[in-house]
């Protein structure tokens, strides 16, 4: 009888619960929509297919990194090295995709199929990520320190490999960042595909669930027989791979691999994840939330410029709006 009452209780709370869940889930989307409406009213050029693609293309590589860092944060970790890894991947890849007539030619006489630079970028990304993961899982280095180390080390190697930008790239390479399929810019497609795949991975595979389990309660995961170390190494490797992919996208977008590329992008990516509802203590967060977070950042960057807001004020306004968005998002959680 008592247990029946309990069951009823559960039932009763279920409805309220789902409204709450809805707000929890979609509060930040409402904020994004509000922004879109506001900017559309304030600026004519804002709500055009072209500008919307602009925004997504502009956040595409940051979005890739944000997806990676979301998974890392879900385990209760952090990745500060993404921007540097992006640069390292970019210079390595572009050095293998230069036109023979390039003024900054790194390897004269080199002509390799497009797959090679792509693979190299992904591999170096994955490798740096693996190193992060190994340091964190096996040597118990706090993720903040391990990836901060990677931030300086990868940047150093990028600069040693080439302290100058590597430009004049093959058209196939440039297609990654500049091309379009059926009118949809290729970077946008890449971002969407990665988002969908990681979403499925997180929700429907063991590895994905273990990522959440680690962040929710590492101890519980361990005593349930989850191989903690393997999951950690896997997550950081994946995040590194996505940083490498971001390096590909950004270098092909600007047609040049730059050792100084991507400074500070990790903070934007982390902000995107947190705005999108990822908890920095792990266990809570979704990929699509992160995408919404990245869009909010992209829309602000784009919209404030369209409105001719003074540049110094842009940073102030952007910082403030992000904080306010998070406040609103928190409030409704009460």
């Amino acid at each position: 009888m008592a247990s029946k009452a309990a069951a009823e209780n559960v039932g009763k709370h279920r409805g309220w619960e789902s409204l709450n869940l809805f707000l929890n889930k979609y509060g930040i989307v409402l904020i994004l929509l509000a922004m879109l409406v506001a900017f559309s009213l304030l600026s004519e050029g804002f709500f055009t297919a072209r500008n919307i693609f602009n925004i997504i293309r502009q956040i595409s590589f940051m979005g890739l990194i944000a997806i990676g860092v979301t998974m890392v944060i879900l385990t209760g970790g952090i990745d500060l090295g993404s921007g540097s890894v992006l640069a390292l991947a970019a210079v390595l890849a572009t050095s293998l995709a230069q036109l023979p007539e390039s003024a900054t030619l790194k390897y004269a006489g080199l002509s390799v199929p497009i797959g090679v630079p792509v693979l190299v970028a992904l591999l170096i990304g994955a490798l740096t990520g693996w190193v992060n993961g190994a340091l964190i899982a096996r040597f118990r280095i706090p993720p903040f320190i391990a990836t901060l180390g990677m931030m300086t080390v990868a940047r150093g190697f990028a600069l040693i490999y080439s302290n100058k930008p590597l430009s004049q790239l093959t058209p196939e390479y440039n297609f990654i960042g500049q091309g379009a399929i059926a009118g949809v810019p290729f970077p946008v497609i890449v971002l969407l595909v990665v988002a969908v795949l990681t979403h499925i991975m997180l929700n429907n595979t063991r590895f994905g669930r273990y990522i959440y389990a680690l962040g929710g309660n590492e101890q519980a995961a361990r005593i349930s027989g989850v191989n903690i170390d393997r999951v950690k190494i896997g997550v950081y490797t994946l995040a590194g791979l996505l940083s490498g992919l971001a390096g590909l996208v950004v270098s092909s977008r600007v047609g040049s691999g730059q050792p100084g590329q991507g400074v500070g992008i990790e903070l934007d990516a982390i902000a995107a994840a947190v705005i999108g509802g990822t908890s920095l203590s792990g266990g809570i967060g979704t990929i699509w939330g992160t995408i919404v977070g990245a869009l909010i950042i992209g829309v602000l960057d784009n919209g404030l410029i369209l409105l001719n807001v003074d540049q110094y004020w842009i940073t102030i306004v952007k910082g403030t709006i992000i904080v306010v968005a998070v406040i609103i998002d928190q409030r409704k959680n009460r």
């Binding site: 590597l166 977008r253 369209l306």
Partner: protein, 309 residues
Amino acid sequence: VAPAAAPAAAPAAEEAAAEEAAPAEGGDAIRVGVTMLFDDRWLTSMREAMAAYGEAQEGVEVIFVDSKEDVAVQLGQVENFITQGVDAIVVVPANTDATDPMTQAALDAGIPLVYVNRKPANLPEGIAFVGSDSIDAGIFQMEWIAEALGGKGNVVILNGNLSQEAAQMRTEGVKQVAANFPDIALTKEQSGNWSREEGLAIMENWLASGDQIDAVASNNDEMAIGALAAIEAAGKLGEIIVGGVDASADALAEMDAGRLNVTVFQNAVGQGEGGIAAAIALARGEAIEQITWIPYELVTPENYKDYMK
């Protein structure tokens, strides 16, 4: 001497503006979008010159955005300008080797584009440039230092942010000149990230090593001033030649105090005004020279007073 090096385009544009008091094209104001690095001393002076020049022109509005010295950010900004429908775009390229997508976007949209200050590696027909050649700054600086050293001695280099164009090219200039002097050795080189504090710290550390240092070639004045503070603290003021770049107010004051030996003036006002003038002219469909050079000038204890306001 300095203001005399005003750009060719500027006066022409001024005249044009004077003649045509009414704003161009359907009575709308001309809007010029500028993307450039904000967090830089010299570029800020140039930006102020641009803003002032734009303000002085009737019916012209100049919009500035911070490129943060990031090529991807800058490309996004150019795309946003195009969406916004500006009449002309001015770009201080974050990197001269990665301008093609911006150039292409502007050409596709049919919006005039002017590169200012740093010359893109690839400057196709229809795209203008107003500026100077970064490598010259290093060359001028080092030529003076080499002569002052009598062609002999240990020179150290304070680099700007290693991943930035200006730092790479200025250092390149210094090295080119030094290569011509067999008795000059470039003994040390570190990045002080344009910062006075880091320049000071690096110089303190170099001096602590006890190695002989005869001259400092700094990529900018800020680090040079930092180095001077370290030299002073070590009691070696006057024993070490210090050269900077920019001829900033602080640097000229240091030179006035007899501490800084040489710096290189880059005409911020000339480049800024020239850039905006070129953009306005192109927006109005006027023809201009594709390239307008505004050269560096050497500033020494002999002529520095000409550069003080």
